[in-house]
Amino acid sequence: MRLFLRVRKIFGVAPFEHSSEHWKSQRQTAIIVFFLTYWLIYQIIFTLHGSDLILVKEWISNPINELLIFLTVIFSLYHGELGLQVIIEDYIPATQTQQKIMFMIRLLRLLLMTSVIIALIYLRL
């Protein structure tokens, strides 16, 4: 069940995390995102920059690239949301407004994430 909750957190379909959980998740995702984004930088330098759509599609048709870019997006957005939550808690009083902003950020993450997943599935069809 703990694993299931972990997966739900990663995909943004779990309640907002309590402080200690948040702290741990932020560090864990930091390490994951570190490796994934440096992989992406490597790919941008040696393959992606300046490529047209055909080349990019060819690149993404490699399952390893597709999996890693998928994980990069998922974990970056998750790590980003955790970071934004800290900023919001620091500078916006704990009122309804704070809750609303956090909810909006969660909504934006879910929207981007599902769109990316749909796009990646579509490219596989």
């Binding site: 930088i41 330098i45 970071g83 500078y91 704990a94 994430m113 749909i118 579509y122 490219l123």
Partner: protein, 128 residues
């Protein structure tokens, strides 16, 4: 979620500016900038799924001067945030709190970020 009596962080204007808090605020600010990078990354992938016209539209959009400047800022933000992130993780395991260690690690992170970003753009522009 936060309780209603949760205190706010002191606002930026009250700090006496020194190396440590400047780097800390830069970490937060670069992280904030990178959130937009994450949004762009997602939109890029979505545009690939949408096909030719969307992808070309995104390329045109990316060619705008303001967006190019954003990418420049994003690259510095990325290398700074990723390197300073290691520094933060070292603190989390209790290392590097001495004043001289803070200064040295801070210096390494800032020069490293500038160096990495410059190398990145030299590679991208084909000058290296």
């Amino acid at each position: 979620m936060a309780k209603n009596n949760q205190p706010l962080s002191p606002h930026l204007t009250v700090y006496k500016w020194q190396v440590t808090n400047t780097l800390s605020i830069m970490h937060r600010f670069s992280g904030f900038t990178l959130c937009f990078g994450g949004v762009f990354l997602s939109i890029w992938l979505i545009s690939i799924g949408l096909g030719d016209s969307a992808y070309i539209l995104l390329l045109k959009f990316s060619n705008h001067l303001i967006i190019k400047l954003f990418f420049l800022a994003l690259s510095f933000a990325f290398f700074y945030h990723s390197l300073n992130g290691i520094r933060h993780l070292m603190w989390d395991i209790g290392k590097g709190f001495e004043t001289n260690e803070l200064m040295i690690s801070g210096l390494i992170v800032v020069t490293g970020a500038i160096l990495f970003a410059c190398l990145f753009w030299l590679k991208i522009l084909g000058l290296l």
